[in-house]
């Protein structure tokens, strides 16, 4: 095929890229680097240094990191169990597991709101059992719970994918050469699933870092994540310039984690769902 034809075929892709990625990005940069009157300024970006914004960013990074770590802690054993199953049964379990993903994200999170409320389902159950009531709604713990619940499948799938690709005989070979189950886990399974783990980490960390819905619903109005701050600048505060500037800062963190993935996941192994 000659070059002209190839570029013609790429046109829809190019248009798509322009419409949904380049133009929105350009607009964010336009707003972020100007003030209300339209003159160039770095003030919106540097505004991240103000104490309240910094606090929100640090809390976001912290809660996202904790959630990502918890997701990994749950997902790895789960993916291992799924791997051990025969294909037929395994895919059914996987299916059951992914099922909630098809439910609306908002609904799922609101469900947790009702479950966790002071007079919610969980506390009612605890009351029946004579146990003390939990009060985790509107705490960082509730936000972490929401993040883990919502983003866990994004960790399980890439990790499961890399684990499932490991030939049974590679594991058998390790056992054959004297490795017990634990040694096999540490020396074979864990290192071989690094691409999936890395890709899972970004797939959980990035949405967790930018979320404002989970913190809105489960964190109440007291706990502000960087996502909430940005959202409020666009909605209530009506300062699009500041919102865009802060988004750009967040983008830097996302870019950092993306390069992290690109470095480890060269073959796109982990990302393929």
């Amino acid at each position: 095929m000659n070059k002209k034809k190839t570029s013609l075929l790429a046109l829809p892709y190019g248009l798509w890229m322009a419409g949904f990625i380049a133009i929105p990005l350009f607009m964010v940069f336009c707003y972020g680097l100007t003030d209300r009157s339209g003159t160039f300024t770095l003030a919106n970006v540097l505004a991240i240094a103000t104490p309240e914004h910094r606090k929100a960013l640090v809390l976001s990074l912290l809660l996202s990191a904790v959630s990502t770590f918890l997701c990994l802690l749950i997902a790895f054993p789960l993916a291992l169990i799924l791997r051990g199953r025969r294909i037929g049964r395994g895919s059914f379990i996987l299916f059951v597991f992914i099922l909630p993903m098809w439910m609306n994200f908002l609904l799922r999170t609101m469900a947790w709101q009702t479950l966790l409320e002071k007079n919610g389902v969980i506390n009612a159950l605890l009351g029946i059992l004579g146990l003390p009531a939990l009060s985790i709604i509107n705490t960082p713990a509730a936000i972490v719970l929401g993040m883990v619940y919502n983003f866990l499948p994004f960790m399980v799938l890439p990790v499961y994918n890399t684990l499932a690709k490991i030939d049974d005989n590679v594991i058998n070979a390790a056992r054959d050469l004297g490795a017990g189950p634990f040694q096999t886990l540490i020396r074979i399974l864990l290192p071989l699933s690094v691409p999936g783990i890395i890709s899972g980490i970004t797939m959980v960390f990035i949405p967790a870092l930018t979320t404002f819905v989970i913190s809105n619903l489960l964190g109440g109005s007291k706990i502000l994540l960087i996502g909430n701050v940005i959202e409020q600048e666009f909605t209530r505060g009506s300062n699009w310039n500041l919102g865009a500037g802060l988004s750009m800062v967040l983008m830097i963190f996302i870019l950092i984690s993306m390069t992290f993935v690109a470095k480890y996941d060269k073959n796109g192994e982990g990302t393929a769902l």
Binding site: D167, N172, R175, D176, G178
Partner: protein, 358 residues
């Protein structure tokens, strides 16, 4: 007589209700090269996996050096496996692959270094320490898989179709390499293949398997020259297997013609299977033959001609000969008495199962 190193005693195994191994008994002497030979799906890999500890038999036991190891996990067995598709660790370089077993056993750095050098030299891949697994060809990967196994100085090495994925030339080279390795190391080999030529070339004992049964066990010469049943005869090399009637000792009737043979003790007028190798048929003048037929096919095969001779009853005899007879010519068939193998027809159900599937 060497003592036996490993014994499989009354091993049975089924998958999903399907019997794969049925009361298998096998004894392997120390320092021997035993080949499990049989068609795909006959249970060779399963047998090897039971010995390696990756599969637990439903019944029976595995005795290694006099110790019952049926329930011992693979990592504690003093044997190593070379897997069908190499199964190298792709996240480690060649040296790390070879060192894996030794590191687990906590050997010293110097010892491990020496062993790596020694093993690489043994498989003719010196200087490959820092190469990645991906950068190696199939044949090289297979050698590394062997090196990785033998540095652990196992008493027994299990090899599951290790040459199956290699091309013909490389396969033949590797066959000689393996025999050399075996002799240098003095390790007992249990080797799995479905390639009868490979089995005949390499082994001192061949175990012919079919449908979970051992059909025959013996030296390559015994298996080739004295097949015990039609399956073995058919599986090992090409054969003419025809119905015959044992008239009395040393005389068999085939398609109405009487052939002198050397077999005795089959009784009188007993139906039997008769096996005649293609290279054992002599084509002569029609008047001198025991049977006559017409040449219906002729192919030049290099060392010999391959011909099909059709007798009046319609049977096509496969004949290998250095003399050429053109298609359409009438020829006589002559077979020397000692080239005729007589075998009982299968009677019981068990024997039936082992028969040739036509």
């Amino acid at each position: 007589m060497h003592p036996s190193l490993i014994d499989l005693v009354h091993i049975s195994k089924s998958f999903d209700g399907e019997l794969v191994l049925d009361d298998l008994n096998l004894s392997v002497r120390e320092n021997s090269f035993v080949t499990l030979l049989g068609p795909s799906g006959c249970g060779k890999t399963t047998t090897l996996r039971i010995i390696g500890g990756f599969e637990r038999p439903d019944a029976g036991s595995v005795i290694f050096n006099g110790e019952n190891i049926t329930d011992m996990p693979p990592n504690r067995r003093q044997l190593n496996t070379v897997f069908q598709k190499y199964a190298l660790f792709s996240h480690m370089n060649i040296a790390e692959n070879i060192a894996f077993g030794l590191k687990i056993k906590g050997k010293s750095k110097d010892y491990i270094q020496d062993k790596i050098q020694y093993a690489l030299k043994l498989v003719n891949l010196s200087g490959f320490e820092n190469r990645s697994v991906d950068s190696l060809s199939g044949g090289q990967q297979q050698r590394i898989a062997i090196a990785r196994a033998i540095v652990n100085e196992p008493k027994l090495l299990l090899l599951d179709e290790p040459l199956g994925a290699l091309d013909l030339k490389l396969r033949q080279d590797m066959q000689y390499e393996l025999i050399r390795l075996k002799n240098e190391l003095g390790i007992t080999f249990i080797y799995v293949t479905h390639d009868q030529e490979e089995a005949l070339t390499m082994s001192d004992t061949i175990v012919v398997m079919n449908q979970g049964y051992i059909q025959q066990m013996g030296t390559p010469e015994q298996i080739y020259n004295e097949p015990e049943n039609a399956f073995v005869a058919d599986f090992i090399g090409e054969s003419n297997i025809v119905d015959g009637t044992m008239l009395h000792d040393e005389l068999v009737e085939i398609f109405g013609a009487k052939f002198a043979c050397v077999d005795k003790g089959f009784g009188v007028n007993k139906p039997v299977d008769v096996v005649i190798r293609p290279e054992d048929i002599d084509l002569v003048k029609p008047s001198e033959g025991t049977l006559t037929g017409i040449v219906t096919h002729l192919i030049f095969k290099g060392v010999h001609y391959e011909m099909e001779v059709t007798t009046p009853n319609g049977y096509e005899w496969l004949v290998h000969s250095t003399d050429m007879f053109p298609v359409g010519q009438e020829v006589g068939i002559h077979v020397d008495p000692f080239d005729i193998q007589i075998m009982n027809k299968p009677e019981s159900e068990d024997e039936e199962a082992v028969g040739v599937n036509e």
